[in-house]
Subunit: 291 residues, 2 copies
């Protein structure tokens, strides 16, 4: 039996086929162009695998995941040109005729991290995955179930307290200006300094401003969800950056909530090379078969 | 079979005995004095009910709810004098010898609202209960389970964006100064204006400042949990106040997340006269029996 994974991002679609041990057998990266061309390439990748039993899609969003909604399986109002109100599950299902699970990219990653933690016998029941990249988003898994009954989570679009040295910055979220995504996504580096984040040394003060906001996100998730740990992914995140996040988290928490050692509580992904969503998809595809 | 409820607050303990239909048969209010005196009165209330099968306690906090912790069943580091590190479940269990469920006051209320919604066939899977009173706290129920695996939620101790007309106020949280509780709990009225909230007309601008923060809490819970609805309780909350919260929520959301009609999404408790926690306790006691 083979399981399929589609990790659909704004720049590329990573497609993979794996076995029941969640090992990757074949993987391909397809550039995100228009939906028709992209879907055709995705379908052509999977078609030769006659033993494909199920597939999971972890997609950029927003997406419709309510099965009783007539737009179930669609990418809905996305700022990405050409991709608003596009049926994603429909055309794939038509050609591949296998059960498909559909969720957000961050939920896929969160699920992969959760499964990996279980495989290594970590005693955790719940976990948040927060990505800080082109956008900011998060997903949570609680007792093996992805959080969100009215729809998928949108953890980037929350408001935070301003850093005292960042009061003039307007924020860049097209919807909310200075929500978390508007203040702490990757493109805010350029908006603030004219430089890309990757070209700014970690001891530049702008990294402290970033970590202050990301630490507040961790505080929100801690107080609202009480997860066992919080995993950070995305292009902005590094171990050196997370050290700053841990410092600011401790300062903002004031020891009010007892959390585990911050080195394990606020952490990089267990799965290297952005593999969390692929593993998550394999496990979600397997689950979609009634396992 | 009889079920017991203890709703333990900083000023009073409301104890009740109910039947399997969750109807209150007898109820008493005991002033919160020192732990020994208070517990003795609680035990004396329940003792005559020979058919008491189980009990649930919804307590002010913070409390220890992890069963593998040696302080399970304790009120831990509370600012309330005489109540820090006090064993709550132990002495009650010793005298009444019934199974006891132990949770926070707001979790009890959240559970009561969830059960009531199910009894009335509302199609909801998840719900948040947020109380704005002497403090700010919240609990969530998802698919019949109280949220929080690493401990109970502390939804009041999150940070928010400042209202532009409230930049000078320092906040009154003894731990975090200007967290949500520090900016939007009942005592902030007096700290800001010298007047108690109940003496300030709803068209006074301070109510707009309050609603701005409470709406941000609703935004956080919406984006992080995607609950089916959010119930507001506590002394600060009224229907007129929630109208302001709905207005600010709409403004802060910018239609980014599609939520149900705000009149039902952001709402007063289904159960009148602060009865949510009592009903929740009856249901949690019943569940503790393996139901």
């Amino acid at each position: 039996m083979l399981l399929g994974s589609i990790e659909a991002g704004g720049t590329k679609f990573v497609c993979a086929v794996g076995n029941e041990d969640y090992r990757v057998l074949e993987k391909v990266s397809i550039p995100t162009t228009d939906p028709g061309t992209t879907f055709t390439k995705v379908i052509n990748f999977f078609k030769p695998f006659k033993d494909l039993a199920a597939l999971s899609i972890a997609s950029f969003g927003p997406i419709e995941i309510q099965k009783n909604n007539k737009l179930y399986g669609y990418i809905t109002d996305t700022p990405k040109k050409g991709w608003s109100n596009v049926d994603f599950v429909g055309p794939i299902k038509k050609e591949l005729t296998v059960p498909i699970f559909f969720t957000t990219d961050v939920n896929g990653s969160a699920y992969g991290e959760y499964v990996m933690a279980q495989l290594f016998n970590e005693k955790i029941q719940s976990l948040v995955y927060l990505t800080i990249g082109t956008g900011v988003g998060g997903g949570a898994v609680i007792d093996g179930t992805i959080l969100g009954s009215a729809g998928h989570t949108e953890m980037g679009h929350v408001y935070v307290k301003r850093h005292p040295d960042d009061l003039e910055f307007q924020g860049i979220c097209p919807f909310h200006k200075d929500c978390l995504e508007g203040l702490a996504s990757g493109p805010t580096f350029e908006a603030r300094t004219g430089l890309k984040g990757k070209d700014i040394p970690i001891d530049h003060h702008v990294w402290d401003i970033m970590s202050y906001y990301v630490a507040q996100a961790a505080i929100q998730q801690t107080m609202i969800l009480r997860p066992d740990n919080i995993v950070f992914g995305g292009g902005v995140v590094s171990e050196a950056f997370l050290e700053k996040v841990r410092r600011d988290f401790a300062e903002l928490n004031q020891n009010y909530i007892k959390v585990p050692d911050l080195k394990t509580y606020i952490r990089m992904p267990r799965i290297k090379d952005n593999g969390s969503a692929t593993l998550g998809n394999f496990a979600l595809a397997f689950k979609e078969l009634g396992n």
